[in-house]
Structures are given as C-alpha cells and as structure tokens.
C-alpha cells in the first residue's frame, strides 16, 4: 500500500522529468512519444490510485486513515513537518478524480497539441501539474499541503503562460500566480494561527485536538485558510485570474481550470472539517462567499462572448456551489458535485476545444454558429455537458447539485437563503449554458462551419492572438499551426466519449432515497465523528421537492435560452438595451478587475515608482548619503578655506587655540 501510494506521486513526476530532460531524444524517436509517455505515466498513477482504493477498502473502517512518512522535511524547534502523505478515503477519492480526468485529458492532448512546438514541454508541465495536485490531495501535514498548493499554482502559471510569446498569456500567468500566492500566504498564516495552539503541523494530530483550540485563533486561522481556498478556487474577490487563465491551451483549461485544481479549495475545506465545525463563524464566511460567487459568476456568464470564458465563469459558479456545500457541512454533496463537475466540465472544455480547432483558434461566440451538422460528435458532447450543467435528470449534475441544495434546505435557518440562491443560480446556469450551445451550434453555419461541412478544416492565413488580435510569430511554432477537432482525431474522440459516458451515468453512484450511496459510504471514515455528516439528513419530501424544482428550473432555463437565441434572435439585443446598466455591469464583470486595479495594483505601482524615482533619490541617496557627505564636504571646504595661505591667519588661529586652551585650564582652578 505504501508503495502504491508513493507510486501515485512518483509516476507523474517521473513522466514530467522524462519529458523535460529527454525531450530531444523522445522527439527524435517519434514526435508523439512525449504525449504517450505523459499519458502512460498518468494512466499508471490512475491504476495505482485504483489499487490504493482497493487496498483501503480492505482495511477496517476506523483504520482507513494511514500516514506514510518518507523523511524529515523541516523538523526543528517544535516544527514537525515530515515528508508525509495521508491516505484516507477523501484523498484517494480526490486522487482518483484527478488521475482519471487527467488521463483522459492527456489522451486528448496527444493530438490536440500535436503540431505545437512545445509538445514535450506541454506534457512535462501537465504531468508536473498532476504530480502537484496529487501532492496537494495526499499531503499529510500543512507544510506539504502548502507545497502541493503552490506547485499546482506554479504548474497552472506555466500552463497559462504556455504560449509565452503572447504578452496576454504571460500577463494572465503572472496574475494567476500572484493571486495564488496570496492564497498560499493565507494558508501559511492560517497554519500559524492553528499551529500556535496545536503545536503540530500534522493533520491528524491537529484534528484530534480541534475542540481544544481557542475559538478566536481558530476562526482567524480558518478564515486565512479560506483565503487560500478562495484564491485557488476562484472565489470572489480572488477570482479575477480564472477568466484570464483561459489564455492557456484548452486542455489546460479543461484539466486545471475546470476539473481539478480549482476544486482544491473545496478539498481543503472538506479536509479541514473538524476545524470548521469548531468554528462556525469561519464556515459561514465560506458559505456566503460561495453563494455570492455562484450568483455573480452566473450573471457574467450570461453576457460573455468568449466561448472558453463562458465555461470559465460557469466553473466559478459551480465551484461556488461546492464551496457553499462543504462550508455548510454538506461534505459528500460537495465532493460528489466536485466529481461530476470534473467530468462534465472537462467534457465541455474539450468540446469547446474542438470547436476552437474548427475555428482555427477563434474563440468568440459572435463569430460562431451552425456547427451542429459539421461537428456532430462535438455537438453531442456539448449537449451532454450542457444537460449535466443545467441539472436535467438523469444526468450526473442533476443528482449532485440536488443533493447539495436539499441538504442546505434541511439545515434551515439562514441556509434557506443559500438554498434559494442555489436555485436562482441553477436557472442562470441553464440559461448561459444553453445560450452557448445555441449560439455555437444553431443558426446559420458560419463560413468555417460551412467549410468543414464540405470536408475541409479551416486554416487561418495569418495567425493572430485571439485575445488582442496581435499577429503571432509563425516561426515560433506555438500555438501550433495546425488545429485538431474531435471528429478527426481518435484520441480526442475516445477521451471525450469516455467523459461523456461518465458525465451521463456518474449520478448512479449517489441516487437519493437510499437507492445508491457509494460516495457516502466510501467517504464515511474520513468524516466519522462529524455532526453535519452524521446528523443532517434531508427528509424525503424535501428531497423530492428539490428534485422536481431542480429539473423544472433546468428545463425552464433551456427554454428561455432557446427562446432568446434561437426562436427570437433579436431578443437578446432588446434585453441588453432594456437593462443597459445591468448589462454593462455584467459585461465589465462587476468591475472587479477595475476595483482591484484601483485599490491595490495602482497604489502599489505608484508606491514603487515613488520609491524608485523620488524616495531613493531624495532620501536614501540625497539625505542619508548626500547629507553625510554634504556635511563632510562642507567641513572639508571650511578647513580648506581656513587654510588660506596667510601665515598671519595661521598664527591667529594658533593664538585662538592657545587662548581657548588656556581658558579651559583657567576654568579648572
């Protein structure tokens, strides 16, 4: 078991290193080899995760939290950070999701990025990401958690900036990285607050004394941990990096910015449940932010025209659900939704990638339309994903979202607000999801679609950066000159097909009314002892009402979208004109970027300039150095002026000194 656990980590790392160091040799053998290596490495990790699952199930239920330590990492002065991993149902669950989805996305990428000059680099990064994510989920103490946390941030940065010749990509990367570092710092500081009283960094050690920790420190520490979670999971107000992160290649968006990394915050809160249950104040903060995010992101999703960004805002919104869920004690619901969301959101992104391939890199919904016939497989995948997202039974998203909301409803009190908000969000979700589908696949085929229908994949004459229209240097070779679509690429098709199946049937793991509760049972050892996990069970009536309401809202949303964008194509413009203020607010993403810019970035930049241009010159150089040297040179000038050359003046000074010295002595009498 220990070997398997470490193999889960080592295989992706090995894959990454092999691609990174041996890329020249690999490419010489076959241009596809780096992709194959990467995919096989992840597949191996996936297999090991399954093995881990099996082994874990063999253990008695109360022994399913196992810690393995490799060596002392930082052990000094009471700090006890070892290189240790925690294997328990929750981590194995996460590992399975991560490796499983990653495997498919690796497979997808083997052709999607085939013509890219950074092919080997891409797989190296991608494997490194999987490694990092696994470190994150398997971490056995806070230090390793932070390490994994930051590694995924770095991997995310690398992949966002993958096409580093684009200034848009590099600035998006740095933005994502810096915001993620804010999160890292939050976690570190939160850890300090907890460590101050627990005197251990170990998870299990900390949890075992959760009830002994003072409330104030705990709440402060957990809120700081939440900052980390928000940063990674793109929750307001630390969400602005996620839409920009769409600068990365589409598989990256699918894997990192939809399926896995951004859900780390959810994982973190679920992992820290013993602490959150001791500090309800902190937990409520999480719930509230989750709700706000899900609504705000939904409204923005309604108006964004960039295909990938629509899905990105959708991701934000869905993670809002999860954060809201796990913060409110709906752990299994949140994690279940995490899994199903991973499936269908990855699917949606892959499908979007396929369309973008057909559009030769163009991502604007305004330029798309009528791909229904040209790309039937992609269309099918999109519809499956859309139905999951909208929460239409029996697709997986229906069950997971429903579980969250019914549990919230059961908790009562102010959680009713969350409950209601969740359904409002669901309506928004259905509308923007289907808006996207209708705009891309319905209507008159655009020239690219028509070209494809004629059997020819559109190829752009001049490569431009879709974000700013800048002409790309073609000699560089990334983004690659060729594009790939699922219809013509078996690996892509396989990956999408498998995901579509998973997204469709994933719900069977956890069907209400006791039909199935595989997830519940599997995760139970992790949440053993939780008041929420063991104490909150929605009544059947509430569950049923929720299911009906959810399905109805989903269908309503699809209907609205159909009405607005297919039946009456002019309606959209009319609504925009009617609610111009609101529209402007949504289009400008609630002005979060502008606010952060005005409140933080610009003052910081101004301060930097002030330091560099004024302070350094006037104070550091002028006053401190210049002042001292000034005094000394003034003294020097005085001495040299006194040294006038007049011998009588010398004698005079001598006599002055004489008189002064004598006076001193006379005063001694």
């Amino acid at each position: 078991m220990q070997t398997l656990a470490w193999l889960v980590l080592i295989l992706p790392l090995a894959g990454s290193l092999v691609s990174a160091l041996g890329f020249r040799a690999l490419v010489r053998v076959s241009p596809r080899l780096p992709g194959v290596v990467g995919t096989v490495a992840i597949a191996g990790a996936f297999a090991c995760s399954i093995g881990l699952l099996v082994k874990l199930q063999d253990l008695p239920a109360d022994g399913r939290q196992v810690v393995f330590s490799a060596w002392d990492y930082v052990v000094t002065g009471g700090v006890d950070a070892r290189l240790s991993i925690l294997v328990d149902p929750l981590s194995v669950f996460m590992a399975l999701v991560v490796t499983g989805v990653s495997m498919l996305i690796h497979l997808y990428s083997t052709t999607y990025l085939l013509s890219d000059r950074g092919y080997a680099r891409f797989f190296s990064y991608l494997n490194f990401f999987v490694f990092s994510m696994l470190v994150l989920v398997l971490a056995g103490n806070f230090v390793i958690l932070v390490a994994g946390w930051a590694f995924v941030g770095a991997a995310s940065y690398l992949l966002i900036s993958f096409w580093y010749r684009r200034t848009t990509a590099t600035s998006a990367g740095i933005k994502a990285f810096v915001i993620n570092v804010v999160g890292d710092v939050g976690i570190v500081l939160g850890t300090y607050f907890i460590f101050r009283h627990s005197h251990t960094l170990d998870f299990l050690g900390t949890f075992s004394q959760a009830d002994k920790l003072p409330q104030g420190s705990l709440t402060a520490g957990l809120i700081l941990l939440l900052v980390g979670a928000f940063a990674k999971s793109a929750q307001i107000p630390l969400h602005t990096w996620l839409p920009d992160a769409m600068e990365g290649p589409t598989p990256v968006s699918a894997l990192i910015h939809a399926a896995t990394m951004v859900t780390a915050g959810v994982y973190l809160i679920a992992r820290m449940w013993p602490l959150f249950e001791q500090a309800p104040g902190a937990a409520d903060v999480g719930s509230a932010i989750g709700l706000v995010t899900l609504l705000v992101a939904g409204t923005i999703g309604l108006v964004v025209t960039d295909l990938k960004r629509v899905i990105a805002y959708s991701t934000m919104s869905q993670i809002g659900y999860m954060i809201m869920a796990v913060s409110s004690g709906v752990y299994v619901g949140g994690l279940f939704h995490l899994m199903t969301h991973a499936f269908f959101k990855a699917l949606l992104f892959m499908a979007a990638g396929s369309i973008i391939g057909a559009m030769a890199g163009e991502q604007s919904l305004d330029r798309m339309g009528g791909f229904r016939r040209a790309m039937p497989f992609t269309f099918l995948c999109f519809v499956v994903g859309g139905l999951c997202l909208a929460g239409i039974p029996p697709f997986s998203g229906f069950f997971s979202k429903d579980e969250i909301l019914s549990f919230l409803g059961d908790r009562g009190g102010w959680y009713w607000a969350l409950y209601a908000g969740g359904y409002v969000g669901a309506l928004l979700t259905a509308v923007y999801t289907w808006r996207m589908i209708f705009r891309a696949f319905f209507g008159e085929p655009v020239p690219e679609a028509a070209e494809l229908e004629r059997g020819h994949l559109h190829h752009a004459e001049v490569h431009v950066n879709p974000a700013n229209g800048e002409v790309e240097d073609t000699d560089v070779g990334f983004p690659g000159p060729d594009h790939h679509i699922a219809e013509r690429s078996l690996p892509m098709k396989v990956a999408m097909g498998l995901l579509a199946i998973a997204a469709t049937v994933g719900g069977v793991l956890q069907i209400p009314f006791g039909a199935t509760d595989a997830v519940d049972r599997f995760l139970a050892p992790t949440f053993a002892g939780s008041r929420m996990f063991e104490g909150v069970h929605p009544s059947d009536g509430l569950t049923l009402a929720g299911m009906v309401l959810g399905a109805a809202i989903g269908l309503l949303g699809i209907a609205i979208a159909y009405h607005v964008w297919v039946r009456r194509p002019g309606t959209s413009a009319a609504i925009q004109a009617r609610f111009a203020g609101l529209h402007r607010l949504f289009v400008n993403k609630w002005y979060f970027d502008e606010a952060i810019d005005a409140l933080l970035v610009r003052p910081a930049a101004w301060l930097g300039r002030f330091f560099a241009q004024t302070f350094e010159r006037l104070v550091v150089d002028g006053t401190l150095v210049g002042g001292t040297t000034g005094v000394i040179s003034a003294a020097s000038a005085t001495v040299r002026r006194l040294q006038s050359g007049f011998v009588r003046a010398y004698a005079a000074l001598l006599l002055v000194g004489l008189v002064a010295v004598s006076l001193y002595f006379l005063l001694q009498t």
């Binding site: 000394i632 040179s633 003294a635 020097s636 000038a637 005085t638 001495v639 040299r640 006194l642 040294q643 050359g645 011998v647 003046a649 010398y650 004698a651 000074l653 001598l654 006599l655 002055v656 000194g657 004489l658 010295v661 004598s662 001193y664 002595f665 006379l666 001694q668 009498t669």
Partner: protein
C-alpha cells in the same frame, strides 16, 4: 673665584647612554667637513654614505643601550626604552630620508655636506627632545630640531614654494616655540625647578594643582608640543610646509618630527605632569578629536599628494594623542606601536611620491600616480599598502596599531575618543581610497610636457640644470618596497612590534 672653579666637579657623563646622540652630532660634523671636498664622489656619494652610517651607528648604539634606564648628565636627559625606541624610529626615518635625497634636487641646491649635516642635527635634536628630562632640555631639543628643519624646508630655492614654506614654518614655528617657552617658564615659576622629577614631585605635593600659574603653564606647553605634533588648531603650518618643502624633507618631517613630538608628549605629560592628568587629559582628548576631524576632512579634495599626506599626518597625530591622553602603560605602548606603523606607511608613500616626481611631469599631483598599477607595480603595491595602512584596513600595521590605540582608549575610559578614531578613519577612506583608485583604476595620463614641472623653476635656467624625467632610482623603489612589505608583514605578524612596544611600556616608571 678661581679656587671655587678649580673645585668644580663636572657631572658624570655616561658616554654610553649618550652615544646615539653623539653619533648623530658627530656624523653631522663629519658630513659637513667631507662636504668641503671638491670631488664629486666625495660630496655626492661619501656624504650620504656617511650620513647613513651615522644613522646606522646611532640605531646600533640605541639597541646597545636598549635596557638603559637612568638619567644622564645631571638629569638633563634620560636614557630609557622610550628614548631608544624613538631613536630607532628617527634613525630609520633619517636613513630613509638620506636615501630619498640621494639624487634629489635639494641636497644639490643646499650642498650635500650642509644638507646632510642639517638632517643629522635635526635628528639629534629630536633624540634630545625625546630624552629630555628637564625643561631646559625640552626647549633646546625643540629648537635643535626646528632650526635645521626651517633651513631644510627652504633648500630648494629655485622654487618659490620652498622658500615660502621655510619662512612660514619659521614664523609660525617660532610663535609655537615662544609659546612653549613661556609655558615652560611658568612651570618653572610654579614649581621652582626645571627637572621633570622635581616638577612631578611639586605636583605630587598637591596644593599646586589648582594654581592658575601652573595650569596656564601646562596649557602653553601643551600648545607648544601640540604644535610640533600638528595638532589642530595648531596644525595650519603643516599642509603648506609639507607641500612646499623638498619631498625627502617632508618625509622626514612627517615621520620623525611627529615621533619626537609624541615622544616628548608622552614623557612630559606622563612623567612630569602626571599629577595634573585630570586637568589636561580632557582638553587633550578634545584636541585629539578636533584634530582627527580637521585632518581628515582637510585631506578630502586635495590633489597634491604631499598635501594630502600632510593632512593625513594631522589626523594621525590626533590618533596618537589618544595614547598620551589615557596616561597608561597601554597607551604608551599603543602610541609607540603606532609610531612605528606610521613610519612604515608614510615612508612607503613618500618614497613613491619621490619616485613619481622624478618620473613624471606632474610633480606631487595625484595624477603622477595614475595608472601605475599596470606600469609600475613595484611602486603601486607599496602605495596601496601604505594607503590601506593609514586608513586602517586589516592586514596592515596601521590596522593593528589602531586596534591597540582604541583598546588603550577604551581601557582608559575614553571610549568616545576611540569612536572618534573610527569615525576619522571612515572619513579618511574618502581620500586614501582615492589614491588607490588613481593607482589602479585610472589610466596613465598623457604626459603633460617633457619635464617635471617643479613649481616656480626659473624658466631661463640652463637646460641641463633642470632635471628632466628620469628614473625614480633603484634605492627609492627598494625603499618603497621594503616599507610597504613591512606594513604588510607587521600587519599579519605584529608580535615582534608588540614585544618592542611592551619593552617601552616598562620605561616611564610613573605609569
């Protein structure tokens, strides 16, 4: 009367203990006489050789008399380790001066015999001053060193600057000696005796300690001695005289005069006036601090190396004064140690200045040493070591000396003065490093004209009388290298010098 005279018994003369001074004075007479010979060789070779032998003999005799510790010639002088140690410094400085003068202009202008006789007499005067054990001897030693130096300063008569420096030194120096004399007179008046021992005994009696006559006497004597040591504000003659005087003479003044002045300072204040230490130490410390500041800031922005070294010498005098202020064994040792270090560093620097004065047309301007790091490493290294040593960079004798001085000051509860030394050293980096930068980091300048621009040289003088650029001379380079190496070696392995200083520390019995 005649009978009385017949009964008169002259004092016992301890020729052995007196021998270093006798050697110097005898050397002066012999040099003077040999200088009368017509032969070029006699004048240009024999006279310097004789002078060096006189210095060597005096040094040897000093070592011979090292462990002497008694008054000689009716209490006029004292032979002890302090006197002998300073004799050694004087002899080293004197011999170096003779070497530096070997092919210089000054001895030719003044005539070799007279020139060297004057140098030897000045050195003898210094030896007398350092050994002085009575007020009369102090004054005589003071004048015996001053008057030959007045003349030596003015020897390069073709340069107006030389004469100017001679006259300035004479006028200001005479004011200084008149002040000293008046102070000595008052001390005599207050104590009724000219002997140090008697003065000290009178102070010990106690009721004199707050007498204005005595205190003013101390003040005036302090000023007189401080004047010779170039202590601010009595330092103003120093830069002008150092710059104007012939460079070998400047080197001699810089090293030997300072050693003599500090030596008599130690003896006069720590033996004769030790009883009044609480009265004079604070003001002397203040003077030291003022000197450190004035010397160091004055040296900034100087372009003449001699002038720069003059101000630097002022600052160093301030450091050395610290050794007197604390009136302790440690202070005495530190001062002697520092004097030796100072000798090495300054002579190395002056040797380089002399060499470059001959080799370039820039005189003693800092431009003369620009770029010698590449072209003349044997001059560049000594200069660098000398500058580092004077600045107190580790691994030089100057550093160890400063450590010793500061240690003595902290030990004597004058920590603030120790900090002043440190602050002074900081300021001093500004100009010492400038020289180092010129040596290593600036390119050699384009020669400005073919001949050394000796300031004020008569333009109508025959061509062959004016020395053109010529080799600096092997002996000058050797001297620079030797003293530079000494600076380094004693910085790394200072124990021999410490042993010497500790011997000297035993000498002033009162401490």
């Amino acid at each position: 009367m005649i009978l009385a005279a017949a009964k008169l018994h002259g004092p016992h003369i301890d020729w052995a203990a007196l021998s270093p001074i006798v050697a110097l004075l005898g050397g002066a007479v012999v040099a003077l006489l040999v200088g009368l010979f017509r032969g070029r060789a006699a004048r240009q070779v024999a006279v310097p050789l004789l002078s060096i032998s006189a210095f060597g003999a005096a040094a040897g005799l000093s070592i011979w008399q090292w462990s002497a510790d008694h008054d000689i010639i009716a209490g006029a002088l004292r032979a002890d380790e302090l006197a002998m140690a300073i004799n050694l410094i004087l002899c080293a400085a004197g011999a170096a001066t003779v070497l530096l003068s070997w092919r210089s202009v000054a001895p030719r202008e003044a005539a070799h015999g007279e020139y060297h006789a004057l140098v030897l007499t000045a050195a003898a005067g210094m030896a007398v001053l350092v050994g002085a054990q009575s007020l009369v001897t102090v004054f005589l030693g003071y004048e015996l060193l001053s008057i030959p130096l007045y003349v030596l300063c003015a020897t390069e008569m073709r340069r107006a600057g030389s004469l100017e420096s001679g006259l300035k030194y004479l006028i200001v120096g005479s004011v200084g000696s008149a002040t000293l004399l008046y102070g000595l007179a008052m001390l005599y008046g207050a104590t009724g005796s000219t002997d140090f021992a008697a003065v000290a005994a009178a102070l010990q009696a106690g009721d004199l300690l707050h007498d204005p006559l005595l205190l003013t006497g101390i003040a005036l004597a302090l000023v007189g001695i401080a004047f010779k040591a170039s202590v601010a504000p009595f330092h103003q003659w120093t830069p002008d005289v150092y710059e104007g005087a012939p460079t070998p003479v400047t080197a001699f003044m810089a090293v030997a005069t300072k050693a003599a002045a500090i030596g008599i300072g130690l003896r006069f204040f720590d033996v004769a006036l030790i009883g009044a230490q609480p009265d004079w130490a604070p003001i002397m410390a203040v003077l030291a601090a003022v000197t450190i500041v004035v010397g160091n800031v004055g040296a900034l922005g100087q372009s003449s190396l001699k002038r720069l070294l003059a101000y630097s010498g002022v600052a160093q005098a301030g450091y050395l004064l610290g050794g007197i202020v604390v009136s302790s064994k440690l202070g005495l040792e530190a001062a002697v140690f520092y004097l030796v270090a100072y000798l090495l560093m300054n002579l190395a620097a002056f040797a380089v200045v002399v060499a470059r004065e001959r080799e370039t047309a820039f005189g003693d301007d800092i431009a003369s040493v620009e770029g010698i790091g590449r072209s003349r490493p044997l001059l560049a290294w000594p200069m660098t070591l000398a500058m580092f040593g004077l600045a107190g960079i580790p691994a030089t004798a100057g550093f160890v000396g400063k450590v010793y001085l500061i240690e003595a000051l902290v030990d004597g509860d004058y920590t603030w003065l120790g900090v002043m030394i440190v602050i002074g050293s900081m300021i001093s980096l500004g100009y010492y490093l400038k020289v180092v930068a010129a040596v290593w980091m600036r390119p050699a300048p384009e020669a400005a004209g073919g001949r050394p621009a000796l300031a004020g040289a008569a333009l109508d003088a025959p061509e062959d009388e004016l020395p053109g650029p010529r080799p600096g001379g092997l002996e000058v380079t050797a001297l620079a290298v030797a003293f530079g190496a000494g600076t380094l070696v004693l910085g790394v392995w200072p124990t021999p010098l410490f042993d010497l200083a500790r011997h000297v520390g035993r000498s002033l019995g009162v401490l």
